[in-house]
């Protein structure tokens, strides 16, 4: 009887541990998915803002910022 109860305890603890593991994995997966939008936004900023800024042409920088913020 004791052995059977021990096994049940171990098995239920294992299910709980697996459930917790699935929760963590789902959380990590959601976090990874969110990187898509984040990375796309950063790439867009680099292409649209940082590249014109490297020119050090003040009017070009102001124009790039205006164009960029207007297009959002």
């Amino acid at each position: 009887m004791k052995t059977w109860l021990d096994r049940l305890d171990r098995s239920s603890a294992r299910v709980e541990a697996l459930e917790e593991r699935v929760r963590v994995l789902e959380h990590d997966l959601a976090e990874l998915r969110r990187h898509n939008l984040r990375l796309a936004e950063l790439t867009d900023v680099v292409e649209q803002l940082l590249v014109p800024m490297a020119s050090r042409d003040d009017a070009a920088i102001a124009a790039a910022i205006e164009k960029f913020t207007k297009s959002l």
Binding site: R33, L37, T43, I65, T69
Partner: protein, 513 residues
């Protein structure tokens, strides 16, 4: 006309009382014009009378119900009339007219919004929209994307050769040749920018969908939604509902469909895409159709593309009726205190400005101020009044949940000459962690050369708050330090409230110099 009182028992101020054995979709007509459709079981409530069910008038229609009107209820599919009588509502004696400000007929569209739906519009009105559809399709083609009418617009074209009567906007879709969400988003950004450059107003919904505003012949502005999609190996994902196994040959090469007499591109097997969008019953008209969202598809689409418009609709509803009225409330204590403390030449960046009551106060005091909000049209009245009175007040869009917005506006503000300060009245508690990070990033960018952040927020102590995300004083202090700032002042006080006991208000002044 056949009338059966056995089915609809009564129509009055409360709604439509009916006996329904099976779930059927019905149209409600006011003076022979459809204004609403509902399912007799799904969209109705049980009543004390047991077998009878009540379809309450939807909120947007209720305000019109004062006076007399001929009410007709008919089954959508068979067109059988099940009620047709003149009905009196409220104390009014005039004829009820469900029309907009300019007298244009309105009805409830598929999303339950009161709109100038297509069933009340003639060719003179839809012609400009068809022109715009063709123009945007051709533009997208030139930009390297093979787009086609999607969702309700595709359904209308394939099933009826027309716009759906109960629809109010036009949808376009495309399946990208890109294979990862990040590249699909970048492509969508590019497309929006190019379309904006051609003179259209655009609004982004998510990383893979945006709207193009088209002004029609009668001045009505109608949205044209552009949804992006892509193949992830053998699965098609199309914003905003589709995610399932799909053959490429069902999309490419594109075929054609006919919409209101015009030939437009269509997926190679449009019936397959319609089935993915509306289920196998897509051939049967259903003006009250509700999407049954697949949770796994939604999880993926949310993770990849969404998260930048949290609560936007709720704020929009809150502000939409009042945006042409100047705010009457007194300015916040924080704005008054900050104004007193700051030198006269400091430009105040009022973030999360809402209707702009503090910005309006500061501008009238002669201070230069920019009111930022992710719904800038909430401050329409303040902006117009400032222009009229020649006050130094600017209204701009800033979305803390959108990195591009924070970086773009941050760069713009940081380049403006003169000292700045940020006023954040209940902005930190109007958003959640990612939005708070956005606000701090904006502060870090704009205050690097000096200036202070003045912020207040409900801390969540003392009262259970609705519609806000309370944040503790300690959390805000940690947030500021985590973003490289230092705390000048931090306090918490209990504020008595007329309506709900008391609340604890946190206040922080921080700097980045």
């Amino acid at each position: 006309m056949v009338t059966s009182r056995d089915v609809v028992r009564r129509v009055d101020q409360d709604g439509i009382l009916l006996a329904a054995a099976a779930d059927k979709v019905v149209d409600v007509l006011v003076d022979e014009r459809r204004v609403w459709s509902f399912w007799t079981l799904r969209d109705t409530e049980t009543t004390p009378a047991g077998s009878l069910r009540l379809a309450p008038w939807p909120g947007p229609l209720q305000r019109f119900l004062d006076g007399r009107a001929r009410i007709t209820v008919r089954e959508t599919v068979s067109r059988t009339v099940i009620f047709d009588e003149r009905v009196s509502f409220g104390s009014g004696t005039g004829e009820i007219a469900i029309v907009g400000r300019k007298g244009e007929p309105l009805s409830l569209d598929k999303d339950g919004r009161l709109s100038a739906t297509f069933d009340v519009r003639d060719a003179g009105h839809t012609g400009p929209l068809l022109d715009a559809i063709e123009e945007v399709l051709s533009l997208l083609h030139d930009l390297g994307v093979e787009a086609f009418p999607a969702y309700g617009t595709l359904l209308g074209a394939v099933r009826e050769g027309q716009f759906l009567g109960h629809d109010s906007d036009a949808d376009l879709g495309y399946v990208s040749t890109e294979t990862t969400p990040v590249d699909v988003v970048r492509e969508s950004f590019r497309l929006q920018r190019e379309i904006e450059e051609r003179g259209y107003d655009t609004h982004r919904y998510s990383g893979a969908a945006f709207k193009v505003d088209v002004v029609e012949g009668d001045g009505v502005v109608r949205g044209l939604d552009v949804f992006g999609g892509f193949f992830d190996s053998d699965r098609l994902y199309l914003m905003g509902e589709v995610g399932q196994r799909f053959e490429r040959e069902w999309i490419f090469p594109l075929g054609t469909c006919t919409l209101a007499g015009r030939e437009l591109p269509a997926p190679a097997a449009p019936q397959k895409l319609l089935e993915a969008m509306y289920g196998p019953g897509w051939r049967v008209p259903d003006p009250a159709f509700k999407f049954e969202k697949d949770p796994r598809t939604q999880e993926r689409l949310n993770g990849w593309f969404r998260g930048t418009q949290v609560d936007l609709r709720r704020w929009d509803r809150l502000y939409s009726s009042r945006r042409h009225t100047l705010p009457r409330r007194q300015p916040s204590t924080l704005a008054v205190d900050a104004h007193r403390e700051l030198p006269a030449d400091v430009h105040v960046l009022d973030v999360g400005a809402g209707r702009g009551r503090d910005a309006w106060y500061l501008a009238r005091e002669g201070r230069r101020v920019t009111a930022y909000d992710y719904l800038p049209h909430a401050a329409t009245a303040v902006r117009d009044a400032a222009v009229r009175d020649g006050l130094p007040l600017d209204v701009r869009r800033l979305n803390f949940l959108e990195l591009r917005s924070v970086l773009g506006e941050g760069a713009r503000a940081a380049r403006q000459p003169g000292p700045h300060a940020i006023l954040a009245v209940h902005a930190l508690d109007a958003t959640y962690a990612p939005g708070r990070d956005g606000l701090m990033r904006f502060a870090r960018m704009t205050l690097r050369g000096g200036g202070r952040l003045y912020a207040n927020f409900w801390t969540g102590r003392k009262h259970d708050l609705s519609r806000v995300w309370p944040i503790s004083l300690a959390e805000v202090e940690k947030l500021v330090r985590g973003h490289g700032g230092s705390i000048v002042h931090a306090s918490e006080s209990v504020v008595p409230r007329a309506d709900s006991g008391e609340r604890a208000l946190g206040q922080v002044v921080a700097e980045w110099a």
